[in-house]
């Protein structure tokens, strides 16, 4: 039977039992508000649910009953007739429910008479209520009331037509008795009321032309709560279960600790009882886990209906095949995947399944099939949504991705079909030709993916043109206990959820598997592809360890990266405990746990760690930002140098502005004419203190060396603290002397961001500090950067922004043409990727902007210089020659200003 229906019956059965008890009291105290209220609630609930799961007969009946009881609840007087009518209604509901429980569908039959009677009662009660309100107000009002009651009588006249035989219209009691005349005839004719009561306990079964009486289970109790559910159920609040779960988790931990102790002792009498305890604990844990488990079928009970409705709307013929609905899953997870499932099914129906005619033309059956399957697989639940529709249109996805700048052509060339298909998980990529009411509103598979990501699951897609698509979602059984790999980094243990771990690779310097560096980014060559590496100790802000260790190859959706750790211990089932609210802001950790030896270990959030992977992630970020529609609010991560100088509050400068960090013997300083100089690399460099830092007279003095094209400056600080990567959320709050731009949360601490410009000689400060954006009252000129490589674009962006310019970074020549405008002071063009295309576009750019055009290349060969100069590029600069670039910008910047 339908899960939903089953649930409905169980719930209603329980409610009915409660009301049954109250009904006994109801007969004695018909005007007791509390009883009326609980009956009302029951009827109301049934009514609501009926509408939802499609039980028209019950719905009509409960609707009528609800309005009567509602009136009584509002204060109308409950008379004997009403009592009987309500009792009969309850009986009727029970009858229908019990048949529903037996046959799984609503019995055929008519409740018109009863409903008509209930309506009449409702009208009477309403009149009574309005009269009570109007009491003594005036003849007009009374007239109105009279008119109303006339109308009611007319209603009675209608009722009369449908009722068994004509009776006096004014007497509802008579009407009632007439309908029940068999019972009445048998009874002694004492008085009406008595009759009613005698009639009431005998429910109106078998009347109203209902079809053959159902074969009711033995015991003949009409209450479905007794008749139907196979095993008795008990409703327990989720809180209780959660608490039980927590306690069992604690027990598991304690047991683990005991086992650990026992392991270290040889031959103790503890062994046997401990083993028993261990077994019992495991069983208990399983049992408690089971209470949280629900068949996944609960999450898809609505789907057949949705698909049926969709088929109608779309004019398609779709069969939905559900497989493995009994597969159990933690209810918390069930809630989380409900919506994504509905979304995927809708997508299938809307986009994938073709119209019957098209299908026949392709030699497929007219009926499309959507298959939803769930099964357990290696400690996780796999859910597959497959269809036999047209398959994904990879060409269109690719075109869309290109158009929306998700990827560029060069990248596209390298993508396999599967990888192109995976692009549908990118935010904002909807391939529907037209927006329909059903799906295709631009939020689509990316939302599904993020939901799946959120529960630590993985999603993948396989498609074959003309044959169909299969989406596979793999989610953990539960969020409470996960299997985790215990690793060590910088002397500290961490847990990495096993579900994201693909493989382990041992790396040692000089061996086949070793870390390599590309432009500062660490990578591992693994079977012919380059795997970006996150050094765990770096991410943790601890000093980097050795390059020997293990790479934990991690996969989150389509993103793969390696985590370098110093060592790997083992896999352990860990009980996830939430992070303290004071630590929840740290994206690196998803929770913590206690290991067998009692140590608290942090659980790494692979999604949080993935942010440390450069290009692959920032690309996604860039796409999201573009959808924000404002390239100025790109939330980039800046690398910052954190140091102390004077006050307790740490200070920071963007690392991109720092040339070098040095430590110098204090005796090397040369003092003279009020200035301190340092003989540094063959030059005399002025030394200045930052903030309240004091220049040491002995020992080593930490210095930040800042070079600005031609000028070098040594800034003395008290202490270099750290280099951190952070989304710089600057709260501008300039200090009195202008040496601080504002403050930002860096590494979880409020940190002053220093304006280096105040320390640099005025004429050189143009390219010295990002503070110009803030301190200059005139908005700075823009720079357009065309750089197809995401990684390089990300690398150059902070440098350029730090130089104080408004930056527009684009990935293709076409976008560059779009973006260029007169306010641009400089246009930086990549010459590596598409030299001809870029050079060809220069004329067009020249037309639209008077800006200086600089060419960027990794290899500034004389040949390239010549070609570029011919095409009208002012200067060709090496991509990694940041200093020359900044100098060139500063120069042209001031030139531009003079001209302005």
């Amino acid at each position: 039977m339908d899960e939903l229906l089953q649930e409905f019956l169980t719930e209603t059965g329980e409610n009915l039992e409660t009301v049954d008890r109250e009904l006994v009291r109801f007969e004695r105290e018909p005007n007791n508000r509390d009883i009326l209220h609980s009956i009302f609630r029951l009827v109301h609930t049934i009514k609501g649910t009926c509408g939802f799961i499609g039980l028209p007969r019950l719905e009509a009946l409960t609707h009528a009953a609800e309005s009567v009881i509602g009136r009584f609840r509002d204060g109308a007087n409950v008379n004997a007739i009403a009592v009987t009518a309500i009792l009969e209604t309850m009986d009727r509901i029970k009858d229908i429910l019990s048949e529903l429980a037996d046959k799984g569908e609503e019995p055929v039959g008519s409740d018109e008479v009863l409903i008509g009677e209930l309506r009449t009662l409702a009208e009477l009660a309403r009149t009574e209520l309005s009269k009570a309100e109007l009491g003594g107000i005036g003849p007009a009002a009374l007239d109105a009331a009279q008119a109303e009651s006339d109308a009611i009588e007319a209603g009675f006249a209608d009722l009369e037509m449908t009722s068994v035989e004509p009776i006096s219209t004014a007497d509802a009691l008579a009407a009632y008795l007439a309908r029940h005349k068999a019972a009445v005839a048998a009874a002694d004719d004492d008085d009406g009321l008595d009759l009613c009561f005698r009639a009431a306990p005998e429910p109106a079964r078998g009347r109203d032309g209902r079809i053959e009486a159902p074969s009711r289970p033995e015991g003949a109790s009409p209450a479905p709560s007794e008749a139907k559910p196979a095993s008795p159920t008990l409703r327990v609040s989720v809180d209780t279960l959660e608490h039980l779960m927590t306690m069992v988790s604690e027990l598991v931990l304690t047991r683990n600790q005991l086992l650990d102790i026992a392991r270290r002792q040889t031959e103790t009498e503890l062994k046997t009882p401990l083993q028993r305890l261990s077994l019992i604990t495991a069983e208990l844990q399983e049992g408690v886990m089971k209470t949280r488990m629900q068949p996944i079928g609960n999450a898809w009970s609505k789907l057949p209906r949705i698909v049926r409705d969709l088929s109608g709307e779309l004019g398609k013929r779709i069969d939905l095949v559900l497989d493995g609905g009994e597969t159990e899953l933690d209810r918390q997870l069930l809630d989380l995947i409900k919506d994504p499932l509905v979304h995927m099914i809708r997508n299938c129906a809307d986009h994938a399944i073709e119209l019957p005619a098209d299908r026949l033309a392709r030699g497929k059956p007219a009926h499309g099939t959507i298959r939803l399957a769930a099964y357990h697989e290696g400690g996780a639940v796999t859910i597959q949504v497959s269809d036999d529709g047209r398959g994904l249109d990879l060409t269109r996805i690719a075109a869309k991705a290109l158009a929306q700048g998700v990827i560029n052509e060069a990248e596209l060339d390298r993508l396999s079909h599967t990888q192109i298909a995976r692009l549908i998980f990118h935010p904002g990529l909807s391939t529907a030709d037209s927006l329909t009411a059903i799906s295709g509103r631009g939020v689509g598979m990316d939302v599904v993916k993020s939901n799946v990501d959120a529960v630590g699951g993985v999603i993948d897609i396989a498609t074959s043109s003309g044959e169909g698509t299969t989406i596979t979602v793999k989610i953990p059984l539960t969020l409470a206990i996960v299997s985790a790999l215990i690793v060590v980094s910088a002397g500290q243990r961490f847990a990495i959820p096993q579900i994201v771990v693909r493989e382990l690779v041992r790396v040692t310097a000089g061996s086949d598997h070793r870390m390599e560096t590309i432009n500062g980014a660490q990578v591992l060559r693994l079977r012919g592809s380059l795997l970006p590496i996150v050094v765990l100790s770096d991410a943790m802000g601890v000093s980097p360890g050795s390059e020997d260790g293990f790479i934990v190859v991690t996969q989150i959706g389509e993103q793969r990266f390696g985590i370098l750790v110093d060592g790997v211990f083992h896999t352990e089932e860990i009980v996830v405990k939430p992070m303290s609210s004071k630590l929840r802001h740290i994206p690196l950790f998803s929770g913590n746990t206690i290991l067998g030896d009692g140590a608290v270990v942090l659980i790494i959030d692979p999604n949080g760690l993935a942010r440390f992977v450069g290009a692959a992630v920032t690309r996604q970020g860039a796409v999201e930002d573009r959808h924000d529609g404002d390239p100025e609010v790109v939330r980039e991560r800046d690398t910052l140098l954190v140091f102390r100088a004077g006050a307790a509050t740490p200070k920071a400068v963007p690392l991109s502005l720092v040339t070098r960090l040095e430590e110098v013997e204090a005796k090397d300083f040369q003092h003279g004419s009020g200035r301190t100089m340092l003989h540094y690399r063959g030059r005399l460099v002025p030394v200045q203190t930052i903030g309240g830092a004091v220049l040491r007279s002995a020992g080593l003095q930490p210095l930040i060396i800042v070079t600005n094209g031609t000028m070098t400056l040594a800034l003395a600080v008290d202490d270099i603290v750290d280099i951190v990567e952070e989304v710089l959320d600057l709260e501008v709050m300039a200090s009195d002397d202008g040496s601080v731009i504002g403050s930002a949360m860096i590494g979880g601490r409020a940190t002053d961001v220093v304006d280096l410009a105040t320390y640099l000689p005025a004429h050189l400060s143009a390219c010295g500090s990002g503070s110009r954006m803030v301190t200059d009252t005139v908005a700075r000129q823009g720079i357009l950067l065309l750089e197809p490589s995401d990684f390089l674009r990300e690398m150059l962006s902070p440098v350029l922004k730090a130089s104080g310019h408004r930056l527009a970074a684009v990935a293709s020549v076409a976008e560059a043409r779009e973006a260029v405008d007169e306010s641009m002071a400089a246009i930086l063009l990549d010459l590596d990727r598409d030299l001809q295309g870029t050079l060809a576009s220069i004329a067009a750019i020249r037309e639209r902007s008077p800006a200086v055009i600089l060419g960027l290349t990794t290899m500034p060969t004389p040949e390239l210089q010549r070609v570029a100069a011919e095409a009208g590029i002012d200067l060709v600069i090496g991509k990694f020659d940041r200093r020359t670039l900044l100098a060139a910008l500063a120069e042209h910047d001031s030139g531009w200003r003079r001209a302005a």
Partner: protein, 164 residues
């Protein structure tokens, strides 16, 4: 000036004010005894990289994970490490519940439990460090020194960066 008193002080104010007194350097501080559920010494704290400076790390307190907060750092003083007789690093901690979570305040040392008449509680002096002023409910003048009474809730209510 009773509006300076925290609910802690007012509730307990009828009879007496009971404190667990702790030391930070030479300064004696009082924590309302009703809020203290544990006093313990631990040798193992799991550091939390990139955590706010006030947070020392996480401690396993009989199967519960509690967040250890350095009272010194919280009060704007440099942290100090304490060693036991064998030279191992140890932490003296006060177990406190705040909200629905458990915390451990790391202190230099735990002194005695003190019962003081509410009348001896004076408002904190006006020139007290603003950081201290926000967490102090008042000051008791003992015969040889001052006891600064702390408001546990204010102490644990330090600004956190928004969830990233």
């Amino acid at each position: 000036m009773s509006d300076l008193l925290s609910p802690d002080a007012i509730d307990a104010g009828i009879e007496s004010l009971d404190y667990v007194t702790v030391m930070i350097g030479e300064q004696m501080l009082g924590l309302p005894i009703r809020r203290v559920h544990d006093v313990f010494i631990t040798h193992a704290i799991t550091l939390v990289p990139t955590a706010p400076a006030e947070i020392v790390g996480l401690i396993n307190l009989r199967g519960r994970v509690v967040t250890a907060i350095c009272l010194r750092r919280r009060l704007g003083r440099p942290a100090e490490q304490r060693r036991d007789r064998q030279g191992n690093v140890e932490w003296v901690a006060i177990g406190i519940d705040h909200g629905r979570e458990s915390y451990a305040l790391i202190v230099d040392a735990v002194d005695e439990v003190m019962r003081l008449p509410p009348t001896t509680l004076e408002p904190a002096p006006a020139h007290l460090d603003p950081l201290w002023a926000t967490v102090a409910t008042g000051v008791h003048r003992l015969h040889d020194r001052l006891l600064v009474a702390l408001d546990v809730d204010a102490l644990l209510d330090f600004a956190m960066p928004a969830a990233a």
